[in-house]
Amino acid sequence: MPDIFIAEPKAEDTTAPEMPYVLEKQEGSDKPIPIIQPPINIRNSVRLFASFCKNPDGISFQSQEQGEKILLFLRRDFITNAKWILIGTTLAILPLFLIFSQQLFGNPLPFLSFKFYLLFLLFYYLFVTTYLYINFITWYYNVALITDRRVIDVDFASLVYKDIATTKLSLVQDISYAQVGVVRTFFDYGNILIQTAGSLDNFIFESAPEPENVVHIVEELIGKQNE
């Protein structure tokens, strides 16, 4: 009996299955090690005052390995800068009160000329601007980076103290966060604790924005590493 319908043979699927990671050979070992790919390939540019950015674009760090991608970029929440901004603003308007009081109570140093006062005023504002600038760069360069391979915490304090801590994602055992107080809950920031294996130091990202989201992202990464 002749065949009425002959199905065409299925073409073999030659495309590689989707992999959440790529295999890369590392120096000193024969076995390839899985390197997790970022979940989203869209890169976001980091704004000047940003404190949270997924898949940041244009950010690099000193010990970045070839092909290592930054998945999460964190700074302290911007609201934590309120103290020095308030102090700086107060210092900026203080001379206005002094000029006003001088008009009311007279000049305490009458032998000083106008140019003296002008130079003092310029120096004072230069000092205030420097105070604001130093506080800003301290905030700006204190970052935490989560890459597809590592967790990096960069700490600067008072321009002279520098601490860069790094750990591999495979060594991260647990991640948790603490959000204590009304202000932290209202502005949604808190401390993130990353516990590492063995005698290695734990990581604390202080005042990190969206801690729940960060914990979720890192947990996903740890899960993928352990798969």
Binding site: L112, T129, T130, Y140, Y141, F156, L159, K162
Partner: protein
């Protein structure tokens, strides 16, 4: 005689304030040069290609402003 004595005193105070101002401004210039160096070091560790130029320019601006203020004080005070 009394007037002359008080005039000398005013000149001395004037000179002391001028020297004091110049010393403080000079120390501030040295401090700002340290700031420039530190910003450079920080930028080497974490580099943001979009905004790092603004941050670095600001440090240079502050340094130039402090040097200009020092020179101005040296000339006009």
């Amino acid at each position: 005689m009394n007037n002359l004595f008080s005039s000398i005193q005013i000149v001395q105070v004037y000179s002391l304030i001028k020297i004091g101002f110049l010393i403080i401004d000079f120390a501030f210039i040295i401090f700002l040069s340290v700031v420039i160096k530190q910003v450079h070091a920080m930028n080497t560790i974490v580099n943001d290609s979009s905004d790092s130029s603004i941050i670095r320019s600001m440090a240079f601006f502050l340094f130039i402003a402090a040097v200009s203020l020092f020179l101005t004080a040296l000339v006009i005070l």
